[in-house]
Point group: C2
Chain length 336, copies 2
């Protein structure tokens, strides 16, 4: 089992592979980096190459782990965290550690190896988003888990090791540092103003208009005033909603259209850029739910156009070579 | 002039290039990324290709901006921050912004285009480190600056745009988020234990021995128990020292030997890996110097072996595929 270790200075957790450590010669050099070789385990007919499926959207009468699915969820074959066991949190001198308990699943978005989200039908993307919701709600039942993180790495530089379109879902036994910071920051604002900072952000964006990329009935997409990356885009529900899973069923198609829309626009501008997106939502199994009024779920989309270097690592400062106002204007005007 | 913008949620600052924004077509795709083309501005004979030098270690009677130097400091030709002007901090709706005031200099470490630090003589590296100290002390005189950050990007994936070995130095008008976190974390520990957490870390490493890479009279190098990256190494002065610039003159050669040593060892294991290192020191021009007892300067060295993906961006969690204990053992045993 891997170990979770906690840095007592910044409160950062890391997952250390103590049972199957990678040897120096196994680290790929940048130049040689590409897709993992061999048959794609996420394509039709190769279902036996993944661990047994957890759930799938499939044609009637097709058995599990066979073709006939549209969206398929499997455990990650190389999980960062394991589902079995106890946390056993314990000190190691001035440090803390525990067993790396959690869940790590893969949502295979489509049987098509070469279609990214923006190439799929609205209904297909809607199904994927419903699957995000379904898996989150299921993982939430395990009281050991305090946070469910849904994210996508698209392209090798964005951290994907398989080309076939997929999203990852991780359930963690603690609220991660970055999420905690965001929640505390939003709470401070709420205590001071008695308003949700994200709702205020939406109001400001809708007033100023210049950073908006797309808007529909239920959602807004904009390049945040304090973007960390050029062409970073946030999608936010217009109505205050703390948990992603609380998104009303009938609003999900609007989210699908918007997610497809921003990816299509970014691809129109940059060809086929690599990207990450991360769904930021409220912690689960949290007896202290003071964040319900102050936290507002959203999706952060970050195309991989620049490299993070020593300055960013050292400071947490980011250099943004294109102002979000210019990025948003360009993305707003590009037709797809 | 560029803008500094502050995110009210996490308190993160970003530098936005509002005056010379980069256009979409100027972002290099990963595949095409290489060195900036043309003559190397950091080589002998090309001194006119850089802004006028600030200071240099040079042979007697050689004029500034001509060959004959061993270490040369110049303003960054494409600075992230500008030295002239006022901060003019102001609100923009719920956000904060100010002018991007600061300094951004380049320390050209050697006239040799292809020699990295571990190829230089001990005395040459000692001169570079003295130059770090000299420039820090000079920038500290400007009361607008609250933090001086020294860092090196080695290799294109690590964020370097020029191949010729160089270090960067940035003076910032505020203490950056990551530094502030580290200082507050160390203060909390100090309040509770009345001891410096870094001193305790050194004690634990020297007791347990398994994560030590190198040790000499004044410094220790180890793979931290909570490494974020595989083969991450921290160099720390054994004697409690809050500011890098307080390092006694006679201890600097020991630091040079250790820095050369860890780079040589990492290169022996990985060929010529790209890397970043960052000097973590105390904030300057700070009337509240409570961190003098609790903060301990150190250098964090991070070879670029893995890619940061959605999971790390979303959580601040890191996946470390090789335990620091294995990395340290390997590095300790490799002979250079």
């Amino acid at each position: 089992m891997s170990e979770l270790r906690r840095d007592p200075i910044a409160g950062r957790w890391v997952i250390v592979s103590t049972d199957t450590p990678i040897k120096p010669e196994e680290y790929e050099h940048e130049e040689q980096h590409g897709w993992r070789p061999g048959a794609c385990p996420f394509c039709y007919g190769n279902e036996s190459l993944t661990p047994a499926e957890i759930v799938a959207v499939r044609d009637n009468h097709t058995p599990p782990n066979s073709p006939g699915w549209q969206v398929r969820v499997v455990p990650n074959k190389f999980p960062a965290l394991q589902i079995e066991g106890d946390l056993e949190r314990r000190p190691v001198g001035l440090y803390d550690m525990s067993n790396a308990i959690g869940a790590h699943e893969v949502i295979i978005e489509t049987p098509y190896h070469h279609k990214d989200l923006s190439d799929l039908l609205d209904q297909e993307v809607t199904n994927i988003l419903h699957m995000y919701r379904q898996r989150s709600l299921d993982l939430e039942k395990d009281r050991r888990f305090k946070y469910v993180m849904i994210f996508k790495n698209y392209g090798p530089s964005a951290g994907a090791s398989l080309e076939h379109p997929h999203t990852q879902i991780i359930a963690l036994p603690m609220v991660p540092k970055s999420v905690k910071e965001e929640i505390i920051g939003a709470q401070h604002y709420f205590e001071y103003r008695e308003r949700c900072i994200f709702c205020d952000m939406i109001r400001q964006e809708m007033d100023e208009k210049e950073r908006i990329v797309l808007e529909n009935k239920n959602f807004i997409a904009f390049c945040p005033f304090v973007s960390r990356f050029p062409f970073e885009i946030w999608i936010m529900p217009k109505k205050h909603t703390s948990f992603f899973c609380e998104t009303p069923f009938e609003a999900v198609p609007d989210l699908a259209v918007m997610l497809k829309g921003i990816i299509a626009k970014v691809r129109k501008v940059f060809g086929n850029p690599e990207y990450n997106f991360i769904l930021h939502t409220s912690p689960i199994n949290n007896p202290d739910s003071t964040n319900m009024d102050s936290y507002h779920w959203h999706l952060e989309f970050m195309p991989k156009l620049t490299r993070v270097a020593g300055f960013e690592w050292g400071t947490g400062f980011y250099l943004v070579p294109t102002p979000p106002e210019s990025s948003a204007k360009l993305l707003r005007e590009v037709t797809v």
